[in-house]
Structure formats: C-alpha cells, structure tokens
C-alpha cells in the first residue's frame, strides 16, 4: 500500500521533491536484492578466475565457461520455476521429484530421430505441467498449505520416477545433447539469456503482474479483481513445466538417467532463489536473480575445488555461504528500510 502511494503519479512531478527522493529510495529497496545477486555473481566469477589463474597459471577459457553454464542450466530452470511459486508466497518441494521423473523419462525416451525426440520433449513438458496442475489444484481448491501439498506430491513423483526407471541407465540421444552441451563454447548461455529475457517480458504481462499482486497482498489483489485462485493454479503449472525442463536439461548434461538424480534440486532451487534475492514472504524477487543464484551456487563448487578444499567439507562451505549471504542481505535490507 505504501508503495502504491509512493509510486502514484500524484506525487510531485518535475521538481526534486521529498516524494521523488522517497520514490528513488523505494526503487533502490525494491531492486537492491537483485543488485546484490548480480554483484555476487561477478564477485564469485572474479574469485574463480583468480584461483584458477593461481593454481593452473592460465586463465579459464571457453571450455571452463561452457562447463559452468552446462552445470548451471538445470538449477537455473528449477530455480526460476521455484521463484514463480515463491512469489505467490508458496513453496514447491516437489521440484526434486518432478525432476527425477522427467530426468528418467528423458533418458529413456529422447532418442531415435528428430521427430520422436521433439515429440517426447513436448510430452515430458506436458507431464510437468500436469504435475504442477495437481499441485495447483490442491493448493488453490484443496486449500492445503503449499509446503504440505508438495511434500505429498514429491513422494508421488519420486515413486513414478522409480516406476519409469528402476535402476540408473539410458541416455539422451547424442544429437539432442548438443542443444545444451557444447564443450567448445558456452552456447548454453543462449538458453540462459533467453530465459532471462522471457522473464523480463513475462514480468510485465497480465499474469506476471497478477503473480506479484497475489504475493504482495492477496486481499487487496482480490479486491482489485485479480483472479487469485487462477493465478495460484497457473504458477504451479509454470513451476512444474520449468521443473520438467530442468529434468530434461539434467538428463542432457549428465551421462545417464537416474530416478533419484533430481532429489537435491528441491532444496538447492530454494537456495538459489533466496540467494538471488527472492523473498520467501512473497511478492519480492526476480527470476533473473534466481538465475544469478544458480550460477553463484555452481561457481562456488568450482571455487572450492580450486581452493583445494576437501570435497567432504564442500557441504560445510555451501551451508556457510548460504547463511552468510542471506544473513548479510537481510541486514542490508534492514538498514535500507531504517534509512527510509
């Protein structure tokens, strides 16, 4: 409500009044998490390059860039899906299960000619949408808390994944993998940029605005004739579809299919979104930030490698990083709020 007052066109035009100053501060507060996320990515990349140069006395080239992007793609997709849901004050724990299922399906079915490969990609994305629809129906009409709905569907999707692919195996057709993988150039960066651009457009679409309205203040949104239930439903459908895309990407960027390979993405997609400045309380955040978060987490692993950290200690530093990054940005946010 405060924002609306601050951003309304009535606030003095032309002159540099206190309102405009407040408005500019509001803009800073709104976008500060995104700026922090971008700074984090740049900083992490700088640390990575320095460590790489020290330990190998050479600079990372296109191969390294390609490796980082390839590894970051599944997490980026999952984190963007997670962001959509978190923006409406929800959470999707079934991301890991959906990625298990779609990863297994992709490893088994995406092969044997362009037509079948394309067809199965569409089918898998539709399965993701259907799983998301189930989540959405239970949240919007079943009126069960999102965390519980997706806890239940997580188990269902994991079961379906094991049914599809009882033991690890299968692989995506080699021609198909070049869509995502290219050892010589970070061509997968194109997908990331497309994803970011799609978000920038989506953010301004009708549904995009409705998502933010629902997440910010559901009652006001409803009073302003935002179809809250439909928005909720669509957010989970989008989240499921993106998780399915992440599952396909995971099958493509790894050597084979594994019906449990997606499990870790449930929590890491949340971590990526939060590092990217998406507020768990809804209504604040950007998918661009979430993508940044995914890259930060991916580069962090490489940094730990070049810093000669014992791989067994890796989760320690990942956890520490998560706590420190979010703790610091919470403190910065509080400071900005106080100044305003």
């Amino acid at each position: 409500m405060l924002e609306r007052a601050l951003l309304s066109p009535i606030s003095g035009r032309g002159e540099q009044g206190p309102r405009q100053l407040a408005r500019r501060r509001q803009l800073v507060a709104q976008n500060a998490p995104l700026v922090v996320a971008v700074v984090l990515v740049v900083g992490m990349l700088a640390i990575y390059i320095v460590l790489y140069a020290i330990s190998l006395s050479a600079f990372p080239g296109t191969f390294e860039a390609a490796s980082i992007t390839d590894h970051a793609i599944p997490l980026s997709l999952a984190a963007v899906g997670q962001t959509m849901v978190i923006l409406t004050r929800g959470i999707d724990l079934s991301v890991g299960g959906m990625m298990d299922l779609t990863n297994a399906l992709a490893a088994l079915k995406i092969q044997g000619g362009f037509l079948t490969e394309a067809l199965w990609t569409v089918i898998i994305l539709l399965i993701g949408a259907a799983g998301g629809l189930l989540n959405g129906l239970l949240v919007a009409f079943g009126r069960i808390q999102p965390i519980l709905v997706t806890l239940g569907t997580l188990s269902i999707f994991q079961g379906l994944a094991l049914w599809v692919l009882p033991s690890p195996g299968g692989h995506v057709a080699t021609g198909y993998t070049s869509l995502f993988l290219n050892p010589n150039a970070p061509s997968a960066l194109l997908w990331v940029i497309l994803l970011g651009l799609a978000w920038v457009a989506f953010r301004r679409s009708r549904l995009g605005v409705q998502i933010f309205a629902t997440g910010n203040d559901e009652q006001s949104a409803r009073a302003n004739s935002v179809p809250v239930i439909r928005t909720r439903l669509l957010v989970y459908v989008l989240g499921g579809t993106l998780a399915a895309g992440a599952g396909v990407a995971l099958a493509t960027t790894s050597t084979g299919g594994d019906a449990t390979g997606g499990d870790v993405f449930t929590l890491s997609s949340i971590a990526a979104a939060v590092i990217g400045g998406v507020s768990l309380f809804g209504g604040r955040g950007s998918a661009v930030g979430a993508i940044c978060g995914a890259f930060v987490l991916t580069v962090l692993i490489d940094i730990l490698f070049f810093a000669n950290v014992d791989p067994l200690f890796q989760p320690f530093f990942q956890g520490l990083f998560l706590v420190l990054a979010v703790g610091a940005s919470t403190l910065v946010g509080r400071y900005l709020m106080r100044r305003r």
Partner: protein, 331 residues
C-alpha cells in the same frame, strides 16, 4: 444486559473439551487403529501385541525428531537441519564411546550438547539476524553435513566405525517388563513434552509467539529467547534420535538422518498442527508419527514394490490433509 436479551448458546462441555484441534488428535489415533485393522486383514498376524510394539518402536524415532519439529512449527518456523544434526550426533556418540560402556554416557552428553549447539545457532540466526527459518536451517544442515564428513574423513576414522556400546544396544533393543525400553523412553518424552506444552508458562509462551509475535512481545514475552530455546530443543531432540538410532541400528552411517526430515514434518502436520504456527499439540504429532510408520509397515506387509509404496505414501498424506488439514474458506 437485560435478561430478556438472547444470550448466545453456551457450548456444551463436550464441545469445548473436543474443540476442532483436539478432535484432530482423536482422528489421528483412529487412523492408527484403522491402519492396524487394515494391516491385519492384508497380512494376518500384523496387529498382534508384538507386531504393534515393533511398529511403535520404529515410530519412536520419527516421534523424537518430530517433537523438536513440533516445537518450531508451533512458532511458525521449520527445522530443515534435522537430518545432519541427527547424523552428526550419532557419529559423535559412536566415536566418543568407541565401543566401551564406560564412555557411553559422556558420548551421549557430548552428542546432545552438539545438537543443542546447532539448534541454538539456528535460533540465533533466525531470531537475531532475521534470516528466514527455511534458509537458516537449510544452511546449518549443510554445515553439519560438511563438518561430520570432513572431520571424520568420510566416516573412515578409526572410532566412528565402532559398534555402539552394548549398554546402549540393550537399551534400544531390549525390553523392560515386557515392553521395549525404547518405547518407555518415548513415553517419558511424550509425558514431558505434553507437560511442558500444556501446563507450564513456557508452553503458554510457545502458543502465544506462534499466534502473534507482536502481541506476545507487547504482552511481555521475550520472543527471541523463546525462539532460540525452541530451536535448541529441536537440535537436542534430533541428537537424541541420532543416539537412539545408532543404538538400534548398530552404528552410525552416512545419510541415516535423511528420511527423518520430511517424515518429521509430515508427522507434525498429519497430527493436526497448523504449519503456520500457534495451533496443535505434540500428542497429535505422536499420532502422526505412528500413522506414517504404520502406513509404511502395512505397505511393506503387502509386498508392494518400492515405487508403489512412495506413490501410496504421498496419496495417503494428501488424502489425510484434504480430510482435515484444510485452511479456512477464503471466500
């Protein structure tokens, strides 16, 4: 008020005693009975005294973890650090005791202290820094995991592959007066937690903070102290479960705590505790833990394949929630 004015009908004593929250606990235990009957039909001999005791014994581990989870969910939080706090405590206890009964008690104390320490750090991050509980406890889970694996070199150190001391094994697998000793320990915990929640000032404060932090602050409750204490308790309960599991399962293994994250949350919620805090009781969680374990046992008894078990498990959780876990209508 004049005597002619219509006074609102006073709810009968039965209705006040059986408010919706308490009714959920009864439904939970009814579901347990129904599941045992179903299990006995599917596999005759499932619901014998010893069969029931075995299921209850397995439930006690979920029940211990879920005690801490109930506390933090009652104030609207969540503890995702349970798996590796549990695992770390088990490893520390095993390594400290290193197979001898003499060192067992010190091992248990150190393990519980470590659980408390992780929990308190969780609480401090959440209460003082204002980090969301999901993020703070998720990060601490990683920290506990990295420390456990790194310090023990992937659980290859000489002390950490030792079997648990016999005293602990006997305590966890033996019987006292015809009942599993571990069940008696759980009963003591149930009595203690129920007492704390229902009959102490601290318990009242927990519900107050869960209902509204602001109002409880204005009413003189130190919200931060309560929050830190509850996360500390959650760490202690997870550590307790770790010690118990190490004794029951014959040692510490990597990943032994992983199943207990989602199971503890599910037990709390199936037991009727409101995920956003302020309403619910540990007795409901107890019912939830037994429901989940019985369900898994029934599914195991039917010899259903793994994948079918996962699917049925998820469907049953959702059905139970649809029956009584729904929020108020948002018309």
């Amino acid at each position: 008020m004049s005597s002619t004015a219509e006074t609102p009908p006073t709810p009968s004593r039965l209705r006040t005693t059986l408010n919706p929250d308490r009714r959920k606990i009864i439904y939970g235990f009814a579901a347990v009975v129904a599941l045992f009957v179903l299990g006995d039909i599917l596999k005759p001999g499932f619901a014998t005294a010893s069969g029931i005791q075995q299921v209850l014994q397995v439930s006690s581990f979920v029940g211990l973890v879920a005690a801490g989870q109930t506390f933090v969910i009652l104030v609207g939080g969540i503890d995702l650090s349970v798996p590796w706090v549990l695992n770390a405590a088990a490893i520390v206890m095993i390594a400290q005791a290193s197979g001898s009964n003499g060192q067992l008690w010190l091992g248990i104390v150190v393990a519980l202290a470590i659980g408390l320490a992780f929990g308190v750090v969780n609480g401090l991050g959440i209460a003082l820094l204002g980090v969301p509980a999901v993020v703070m406890t998720l990060g601490m889970n990683g920290i506990a995991q990295g420390l456990s694996l790194g310090v023990t070199h992937g659980l290859t150190c000489s002390g950490c592959t030792k079997p648990p001391p016999m005293t602990l094994v006997n305590l966890m697998t033996g019987k006292t007066g015809g009942i599993y000793t571990s069940l008696l320990i759980w009963l003591a915990v149930i009595a203690l937690v129920t007492f704390v929640l229902s009959f102490t000032t601290f318990g009242r404060r927990v519900y107050a903070v869960g209902n509204s932090q602001r109002v409880s602050h204005l009413a003189g409750v130190n919200v931060k102290v309560v929050t830190v204490a509850l996360y500390g308790l959650s760490g202690v309960f997870a550590a307790m479960a770790g010690v118990a599991l190490a004794g029951f399962g014959g040692g510490a293994t990597v990943g032994m705590g992983d199943p207990y994250l989602f199971q503890s949350i599910a037990a709390v919620v199936i037991g009727g505790t409101y995920i956003l805090g302020g309403r619910g009781h540990y007795l409901g969680t107890v019912a939830g833990a037994i429901v989940l374990t019985t369900l898994v046992s029934v599914l195991l008894a039917t010899n259903a394949p793994n994948y079918a078990r996962d699917i049925v498990y998820g469907v049953v959780i959702l059905v139970i929630l649809l029956l009584y876990g729904r929020g108020r209508s948002e018309a």
